[in-house]
Symmetry: C2
Subunit: 442 residues, 2 copies
């Protein structure tokens, strides 16, 4: 290295930078300097020569954005994408999804499904996945290979489950999972995911909470996704679900509650006061006819809300750009107010909101000096992205995941000029096609 | 030509064909033979040698679908894409859109904006546009150059409008427009578009209807897009809007009503009995906070419903794949029934439904012998399209417009391997960027 001249691992040069730091404006002609896994400097290229670098990424005609954070998903379920749609919820679950899971899930199918999920997430700009399913070791394996950042949780349910035939062992399996992966990687955090307050007993919920607290890890749960679930809990406990979970001592800032569609004002106040984090999944909630979460109200109460795709069995893709668009539009039409969830708020939800959801707001979610280099570059020299008056609008209302050109995670370029650097796309598509054929694909 | 051996202009070979003909199943390994502007034969490649052709398009790992029909749009408004979002409706219109139109619309900006719209529609699989705006001659010019099929209507409004400063002349301008283009092209049909029952007087509406009838052309109108509009008409006429239009004699199968959000049961029955066609624009209705059209009810009444993007000032793209996805999901969550607007119904709405809307159901909207060759090919060898259990699901819930690889309109390949053959993309983006900069783009 020449004296006085730093060499950076990656430099991103040109383009409009959206740092997503509160109060910062879009920065044109940006320069982002990356060393190792961290952002070293955020500046503009104006009046200063280009430092040396191993990898120069031009972001001319592009937007530079923090990597998106998928706040709720089950990536292995890519193998069931489109298997059963447009059905009543119970038919969908009991006649299609549960039997398919029972018959076709094993470590191998979960592994390849997770890899397909990683391919899809990376290609559409997701750099962090909050994921959960059975055979979660395989999700860890896939996330590790893909180079994606992830909170991977082992599913806990008081029914015989794939890989956990005896529900009595579900917490032992979960605990062993945490022990196995807790010190494994800087990028991958293990966790537990209690399926829901109706499919897990009070005792299971309490123990899962205790284990998560002991490991200082977030606990995930589905909360009040459907009206039926709400009614079942009220009948069983005489409490609305949030109050039931509060009675069990589960509500605090370590709890990530997905959906939260059927929560009333008192429950929102309670969840807000306990600092519970919400994973909003608008497309899944729409497609299953579940209902509409009161996200604007949650944000007004100061709650942390991330944005999730849910699984490919209920969405059917992992594109957070589509999810941002839908989240913004759904809030407007649901509450008949076009000013709700403006574009910037929605981008915030999919970036720093997701980071806060998993307690990584000091590491990821914005582009600023010292943070991990999780960055995406979005092409704008296309018909549907021209002209640009407001880059936040363009991202939310005009773009799709297909506009993502480059993806950097933890300082590694995992997707460059739309080519994967860590994963073998052809092999993964081929393996999942074979799995699909066994399940019944065309 | 060798004796007994036909030469076809285009052959599409392989892939899964969705003809969208009622009762026909997806056809794997399809072969579509095209001569001139028409489909000559639809078969499979099994056991029969490939005929000679000038252009062989392989559709291996792809879905072959009738070109999509955008039932309602204002393509020149691409120049205002993202100019003003997340605002109260009146602020949006009166503080942003109307002043921008007054200041920046002229034949030149409308022409380039229309060309950008054509680029975007073609690249996302739209082969027919039902379009309307001021300076409509320029839309015709652009559609002609692009090779897209279009019903292009000149806007009629009883206010000073771009290109029509004196509203007294709006119908003369409209009539001259029809006369100018009625015999111009097989692909392009002129028409009139009355802005709405509140911005056009009863006399204007009646005359526009008479002129359209005289030319045997469809008449377009915005109907009950917002609650305010509904209330204004009820106050002015003591009639709900559909009944008001019926009193004027406007309701029949030549009328295309866009939006139809705030129509009650009696109005739906009336519109159905008069065979009025509906252009459903779910994304625009959501984004402006207008409300949700009762499309499942309209379809149950046997109404013709097409799917439209509306303009880029209220959406902000022209991607009908996103619109299909949103239409399906919105109906399910609005009426809390996941079986509503299933994937196939939505694809039907965007293809043959759109064809019926403009009275071209015998010419376009399905892939069958004798129809015009308006065909798109959708790539499926990608992470988010793998595996495939149901191609309709895949199109509606997994794909975006970016998955469109090839587009044929009227027997001409206008987009091949994602390259435009009729339009100069770089020039159009450049011209619209310059227009955007004058308006205030980044």
């Amino acid at each position: 290295m020449a004296r006085g001249k730093r060499n950076f691992d990656i430099i991103i040069e040109g383009g409009t930078l959206l740092t997503m730091v509160d109060g910062e404006d879009p920065l044109p002609g940006a320069r982002v300097l990356i060393s190792g896994d961290r952002i070293e400097e955020v500046s503009t290229r104006q009046n200063s020569p280009l430092p040396e670098t191993n990898a120069l990424i031009s972001a001319e005609d592009a937007i530079i954005l923090p990597g998106l954070i998928n706040a709720h998903g089950h990536s292995p379920m890519t193998i069931f994408r489109g298997l059963a749609d447009d059905l009543p919820l119970k038919t969908w679950l009991f006649d299609y999804i549960f039997p398919a899971e029972a018959k076709h899930l094993n470590p191998d199918t979960v592994y390849w499904g997770s890899l397909l999920g990683c391919l899809e997430m990376i290609a559409s700009g997701t750099t962090t996945a909050v994921d959960s399913y059975f055979f979660a070791d395989q999700i860890v394996r896939a996330a590790d290979m893909a180079g994606i950042r992830a909170l991977v949780a082992q599913g806990v349910i008081d029914f015989p489950a794939p890989g956990v035939p005896d529900p009595k062992e579900n917490l032992d399996v979960g605990m062993a999972f945490l022990e196995r992966w807790i010190d494994f990687s800087d990028r991958i955090t293990p966790g537990l995911f209690c399926h829901s307050p109706i499919t897990c007993s009070a005792s299971t919920l309490r123990q899962a909470y205790e284990i998560s607290t002991r490991f200082n890890l977030p606990l995930q749960i589905h909360l009040s996704e459907t009206q039926e679930e709400l009614e079942e809990i009220v009948e069983k406990t005489q409490l609305r679900p949030a109050f039931f979970l509060d009675d069990l001592g589960l509500l605090n800032s370590n709890l990530i509650a997905a959906h939260a569609v059927h929560v009333n004002d008192e429950e929102i106040d309670l969840l807000a006061s306990r600092e519970v984090k919400i994973a909003h999944c608008p497309e899944s909630n729409m497609k299953l006819g579940s209902g509409i979460a009161a996200v604007p109200q949650m944000l007004r109460k100061g709650m942390t809300v991330g944005l999730g795709t849910d699984s490919c069995a209920s969405n059917n893709n992992l594109d957070l750009f589509g999810e941002m668009d839908t989240a913004a539009k759904l809030a407007k039409v649901a509450f008949l107010d076009p000013t709700l969830l403006d574009a910037k708020s929605v981008v915030r939800m999919a970036t720093i909101g997701g980071a806060q959801l998993i307690g990584l707001e000091n590491e990821i979610g914005t582009i600023e000096k010292g943070k991990k280099a999780d960055i995406i570059i979005i092409s704008t020299k296309t018909p549907h992205m021209t002209p640009i008056y407001n880059p936040y609008s363009q991202i939310v209302y005009s773009a799709t995941g297909a506009d993502v050109r480059d993806v950097i995670i933890n300082g590694t370029i995992v997707y460059r000029d739309r080519q994967f650097t860590t994963l073998d796309k052809a092999e993964i598509l081929n393996e999942v096609e074979k799995i699909g054929q066994r399940i019944g694909a065309l």
